[in-house]
Symmetry: C2
Subunit: 251 residues, 2 copies
């Protein structure tokens, strides 16, 4: 399989604003730190800076809280206007209890507060929304980097999600371009000739988790490069990681 | 945070048998490939070779299937004796539907078939069971490596788990020694002064996922070294990653 894999933090990405050219910002940060992208690199970028560049910001005080948003605020840590934004980013409430609101977003992602996030937004009154289509965001970033740097990289857009049954959050892939998000070992014989039936690895999620290790939360490292991992090129996108309801025992 | 992180596959680990000295096997494989362990390395080892070394193998044909094991076999891909082993490794059935059996193990881990695994076992008639206490297994391996190589490494024992709502499996940490499995950003101010309330990262799971990228499933790379990640030393163990029922919205 792979030789050594390296995970490089992309430092020096400053604050990102609506309309900013993320590809240029990332390429400039890389150049400042003497890092040249290589073909086959995987560029992992946090949702937060993609959302900012795309203008996916909203001031919750501009929305009128509905009844259910006020109900969420009764027990939650945030105010009703915030929860109204969450509800508008959602197509279904999965769990609503003990001050926690877990919803299914319009993309089909299941996460706390529909991915609406208060932290790391300048000014304080704005919150970020997830990109409208994170796979499209990833494909655009990939194309822009190919145009400007002449290098073919895969792009993963990551976000930090909780999981049932386990403590702590992990980074997962909500968007992807140029990399197959799943690697299938189905039907391959292992070293003893036993044929495995059910080994499909969500490698885009694993790459996102690996990248988180150099990102931290308070250090302004919103991007990383995963180098040396041999992957299958694909335009399937991270939407292939969302399990269809009819295949899901936990719906 | 961290500088570059490297993930190194540990090649040359052959078949592992009950009673084998895993620390020596790993140190020998590393030496053969010219890799010297360094203090602060994280050694990630798959459950499979730990279970084999510990003799956590069973021939399902030696157990008498119960009624419920036969029910599982009606729709599942394996036979009743296999499911009987799964039931005996479990304290609770979480989901049993469409040929899938997801249980809570005696450790509190929730996964398909209680982690009982047919693949990569020589002979074919044996299956592996999870280690009795993976945190103890990790601590013993850590101590043995310190004794023999004079190097303090953290140890994570990984296994491949599915998740609700998402396709594909990822590697997670079922055992850990010498590393705090969770890193908390609670109460730290981010770059804009916003205080984050709920950012606790399951970094042991992220390290396990990162290591999987060099392991593959059919290449006999059952161990990897994650180098350059600065972590908090701790003896909490991976059991700290298991959410207590009273804190879990999905119980």
């Amino acid at each position: 399989m792979a030789e050594d894999i390296r995970i490089l933090p992309v430092r020096g990405i400053g604050d990102v604003h609506p309309g900013d050219d993320l590809a240029s910002i990332i390429l400039e940060a890389l150049a400042q730190h003497g890092i040249a992208l290589e073909g086959g690199d995987i560029l992992v970028v946090t949702q937060k800076i993609v959302s900012k560049a795309e203008g996916r910001l909203i001031d919750p005080q501009t929305v009128e809280p509905s009844h259910m948003a006020r109900m969420a605020a009764l027990h939650g840590r945030k105010d009703a206007a915030y929860y109204e934004v969450v509800l508008r980013e959602s197509r279904r409430i999965v769990k609503m209890d003990r001050g926690v609101l877990i919803t299914e977003t319009h993309h089909g992602l299941i996460c706390a507060n529909a991915g609406v996030d208060e932290s790391n937004v300048a000014g304080g009154q704005f919150v970020t929304l997830l990109p409208l289509d994170p796979d499209v965001s990833a494909a655009q970033l990939r194309a822009a980097i190919r145009d400007r740097a002449g290098v073919g990289v895969a792009v993963i857009i990551s976000d930090t999600f909780g999981r049932p049954w386990r403590e702590g959050q992990v980074n997962i892939a909500i968007g992807a371009a140029g990399i197959a998000p799943l690697a299938s070992y189905i039907g391959q014989a292992d070293a003893y000739g036993y044929t495995m039936h059910a080994s499909v690895l969500a490698i885009a999620d694993e790459v996102a988790s690996a990248a988180e290790l150099v990102m931290g939360k308070v250090d302004q490292v919103p991007a990383a490069i995963v180098r040396g991992y041999v992957f299958e090129p694909s335009d399937a996108g991270a939407k292939a990681l969302i399990r269809a309801p009819e295949r899901d025992l936990f719906r």
